[in-house]
Every structure is written in C-alpha cells, then in structure tokens.
Amino acid sequence: MEKTFLRFRSRPSARHAFAEAEAATSLAHQIRVLRSQRGWSQKDLARLLGTTQAAVSRLEDPSYGRISFKTIVQLARVFDVAPTVRFVSTVQLLRERWSVRQQDLEVPSFEAEAPHVVVLPPMQSGASSTTRAGFVWQSHPVPGAVGTPRLPVHTMTANQWNTARALEPQAE
C-alpha cells in the first residue's frame, strides 16, 4: 500500500482514478451481493424495482457508471437497508478499501436485524459512546441472515443491563 500511496502523492490522476473505480466497483458488487444474500435473481430484483433484467445487469456492472441517486434510493428501499452517500478522504478510502471481504458488503434488511436489537432506557450514570439520544442500542451481528434469524433474540432486561454495566470498572 505504501508504494501506491506514494504514487497517489505524485500523481493526482492516480488517486482520482482509484476513487472513481472504487465507488463504481464497490456499488456494483454490493448490489450483486445484497441480491444474492436475499436469494434473488436479477429478474426478481428487476420485478421489485419495476424495471428489466438487463437494467439490473447494468446496475451490477462497474463500467456502467451512470447510476443515479434516485436509483440508489430505490435499491435501498427494495433491500430494506439505508444508503449512505458521503465524501471521505482519499487516504481513508485507501486504508479501508485496500482489501475487501464479501462479508463486508453484506447488509441485513431491517426486518432481519430488528429482532436482534434491544433499545434500553438511559443509564443512571456512566454514559458512554454507546448512548445516543438518551437510549442505549445493542445490536447483534446477523451474518447473512435475511429471513430466519440465526441468533437468539436478546433477552437481557434493562435492569440486568444496568447491573452488568455498574459492575464494570468505570473509566476515569
């Protein structure tokens, strides 16, 4: 990675090419992975999107390069996931995407993940980075699960959670 980074420093076109290729390729592959994760064919996804199988094939092609924001939002709705479109530094992109595993691209639908999430009331003290908007969220990983949850639903009550947290050593 070091030599690539040095090439990026000396040649802006190299880093611009990397960013463009990564965005196009990762989006195309993730559409394919999310579709496969749900056991859908291109035809199935086309039916849900109200388009043709050929159009879905184009969406999964990194060379296509003309996918619109509207289509991304439509895809997110069909997959029951959330799209995030944001800018990051090229260095961050290089570090995070230098190598990619298929499971990095898999995302459970909300319906598949929801049974594994507990929302707990705010703790009396010791608010941590897990506390947001006054609630503690805890989500179990759902590897590849779309329909039937593979992990048991979390059954810890709010009191048990608070007791467990109270026993943990407090950070200064």
């Binding site: 990675m1 070091e2 030599k3 690539t4 040095l6 090439r7 040649r11 076109s13 190299a14 611009h16 090419a17 990397f18 463009e20 290729a21 990564e22 196009a24 390729t25 990762s26 195309a28 592959h29 394919r32 496969s36 094939s57 184009r58 999964e60 092609d61 990194p62 060379s63 995407r97 230098w98 190598s99 990619v100 595993r101 298929q102 499971q103 990095d104 691209l105």
Partner: protein, 184 residues
C-alpha cells in the same frame, strides 16, 4: 503420553490424528492440540483468491507488463475488480458483468473491466495451485471480437504450458507489491 483406553495403540493414534470418529466415552479426554487446530480450520473464514500472472518460458512477464502499461484509470478499474473478485469465494459467483466462464475452453475465465473506454478482459484460469487465479493474457473485446484475434487460443495454450511446467506464474503486482494484499 497418549492413553489408548483398550484400543490398539496404533489404531487409536491413527483415529485421533486423522480427525476421524472418537470414542464417545473419552470425548475430549487427552485430545492433542492438533484436533483443536482441525476444528478451528473448519470454522474460519474462506481465504480470498490470490492472483498470479503468466511468465513465458523465456521469462518474459508479458501480462504484468501489459497491465503496467495501462493508464491510471485502466489500472484502477482492473485492481478494484480484482479486489472484489478476490473476496468472491465461490467460482459460481464469478459471473457477468464482473467475470465470465468462457465456453468452448477448459476452465478459461475472463475478468471484465474497462480501459480507455474499451471493454477489456484479463483472461485466465483457476490454478495451478489451489486458491490461485492465474491471468494468462490481457485483451480487448468488441462485438464478440477479441483483440488480439487469437486471444482465447493463446490464453488457453498458456494455461497448458503453465500446468505442464514449461512456463510459470508469479504473483500479480501493483506498484511493485503483491496484489491483492492478504487480509489480516
């Protein structure tokens, strides 16, 4: 010392070290670390594919040179396609529009990417070692015509010479480093 629990010593040793059925009465008793290692290997993630390039019998690195000669955008699109295919564990998932198994040839695949607004193909095969994809030729493709015209035949013949040991393959390089990197 390995306890045998009434079985013949040699037989017990063989059973234990081939990961075969273990007598239920002594399950877990005296299991060597090897058994744990086998168990662990059955549950770990599948390793990503590694990529190699063809080296001719006269030690010419034609494929790597062709890839290095591409402009920044061609190299970037090729490298990203390789990274994502490396993480695509099942060969059956190497499908269009990212890759394609070519009919009429034994185990010949193409990796698809664009370079200079041309559909470009890295032709190759899975092998010669397990977990490796070897690129034997880079060609362009337009309206079912490959350039060079004999690309498929050349790629296939290079596969043969690699498999019979006349030619060799070396790891694919990006900026002088093996690519894609092995994930931690």
């Amino acid at each position: 010392m390995l306890r045998t629990f009434g079985a013949r010593p040699g037989r017990q040793l063989r059973r234990t070290f081939t990961g075969g059925c273990v007598n239920k009465r002594r399950k877990g008793a005296g299991s060597p670390p090897y058994t744990q290692a086998v168990r662990k290997s059955q549950t770990c993630d599948i390793l990503p594919w590694q990529f190699k390039t063809y080296v001719s019998p006269s030690s010419r690195h034609d494929v790597q040179n062709d890839l290095d000669r591409m402009d920044d955008y061609g190299q970037a699109y090729f490298q990203r396609q390789v990274v994502y295919l490396a993480g695509t564990a099942r060969r059956e998932d190497w499908k269009e529009p990212h890759a394609l198994k070519l009919s009429g040839f034994i185990d010949l695949y193409e990796i698809r990417f664009k370079h200079a607004d041309k559909a470009t193909r890295a032709l190759g095969f899975f092998g010669p070692e397990p977990g490796v994809f070897t690129i034997t030729l880079v060609a362009t493709h337009k309206q079912n015509v490959y350039t060079p015209r004999d690309a498929l035949a050349t790629a296939s013949s290079r596969r043969k010479v690699i498999c019979d040991g006349s030619a060799s393959a070396v790891p694919l390089q990006c900026d002088g480093e093996d690519f894609p990197p092995i994930s931690e």
